[in-house]
Symmetry: C2
Subunit: 282 residues, 2 copies
Amino acid sequence: MRSVERMIQTSFDIISIGYELLDGRVLNTNAKWLAEQISSLGGKVCRIVVVGDQVEEISSVIRDSFRRKIDWVITTGGLGPTYDDITLQGVAKAANRKLVLNRRALEMIKKKYLELFEKGLIDSPELTPHRIKMAMLPRGAEPLENEVGSAPGVLLKSGKTRIVCLPGVPSELENIFTKRVKPLLEKSMKKICTADRWLLIIGVPESTLAPKIDEVKTKFPQVYVKSHPKREEEKSIINLYMRALAKTPSKCHKTLNDVEKIIIRLVEELGGTISRPEGAPT
Amino acid sequence: MRSVERMIQTSFDIISIGYELLDGRVLNTNAKWLAEQISSLGGKVCRIVVVGDQVEEISSVIRDSFRRKIDWVITTGGLGPTYDDITLQGVAKAANRKLVLNRRALEMIKKKYLELFEKGLIDSPELTPHRIKMAMLPRGAEPLENEVGSAPGVLLKSGKTRIVCLPGVPSELENIFTKRVKPLLEKSMKKICTADRWLLIIGVPESTLAPKIDEVKTKFPQVYVKSHPKREEEKSIINLYMRALAKTPSKCHKTLNDVEKIIIRLVEELGGTISRPEGAPT
């Protein structure tokens, strides 16, 4: 089934960068937020990988995404002005690019520090080396304006993969994703519709139902089916979740109707009863 | 520096398994909890990887941990009785083992269901196929008793890597880790001490300090140094964090003293002032 999903859905890897995520100091809420956003747009997150602030590690996992022909790689963290913010070095290495001064990024950063200076928040709007560092992007990359903080996001195409680099500060990440990345995704992503349905199955043990469900899954690879035994010990109540993927809503519903009919017949043959609850079960 | 850390510290990968983590429905608190535990024991988490419930994906990331010579791989999720709980299939594939009925695991499961039956919580203590499924472990594996739920954890040695499989339910994961895994780690992990120190540096811009710090890092690979500019715009206040790794506490402190001396001299040469605050800065 997964290969069919991959054919239908645009694929994503999320790569979170920072030792603070690996030693348990920080909970990776950025990855969850991005995964939710991507799923709600109809995309499929294939992997989430957390690595430390190390060029080799970053380039190695990005290259692995290239090998797996992932459509979009989204990195979080490591874009700031300090010397251990090295995400773009890792990206440049993975994509075999040099880091070069990006004029548009520099303009964004210049404008940002001028604003901060005019508001009296900083002593000088001078473009110090560590401020300029944030405008050193892999050759061919495009800066993505950051309305909240100083480091711009970065967009780079490498082969068939698009790489988006976002800052680790949640408000900055969310700002750039919502304002700059989401519109791009909506334009470029494969159009995909999904529809969900739940069935309540009573009186058939999951172990009996499982092989039958496997047959249905083989027959309908575009449908995701998952059984949730309500209490595994009582063995007789199963919430069955189905999600269909297709190019139009009507195709989704037609497929779910077809699958539902087959499952109703199966359950009745096995001596169980079946109903379709309103919405998701609690 | 990282390679030295790897030489000193026992290395870990955490592999979290489940589509619910990839579509943003569930926040990966298990990985954070494990990372905290491992760090506090002196271990080093190298990567956290989230993959879907798919045998190929699971075996592929575990093999990647083998290639990177990771000491311990800890998986979470996918040990339950349902047909999409396929973690052990993925582990077996990665380690080139067959899944076989493990007598000790079966005894644990039998005892568990008998207890539930005697308490009147289930209709029958019968070992149904999906209950027996939880006792099908990779050949050579050892079950780890689960005092909270029904699926035992699993320990398997493959080459120099030890693989630990834990259930995804946090209370079960925490129970097995604390009672069964932690004692093993405490016995087998390389003995390592750490000591932390903070320095407050005033009047030296981070961009000036950074290359000097890089030199110190090269000279003392067993020391982790990270600068936290207090307000990047004011460019003059830096909290410098140092962590030393060594086999004894006295070695840690000696190293930190040596590094501190060098940094004090550097800062004074650059016209700044330095102090050692009590504890971590706020």
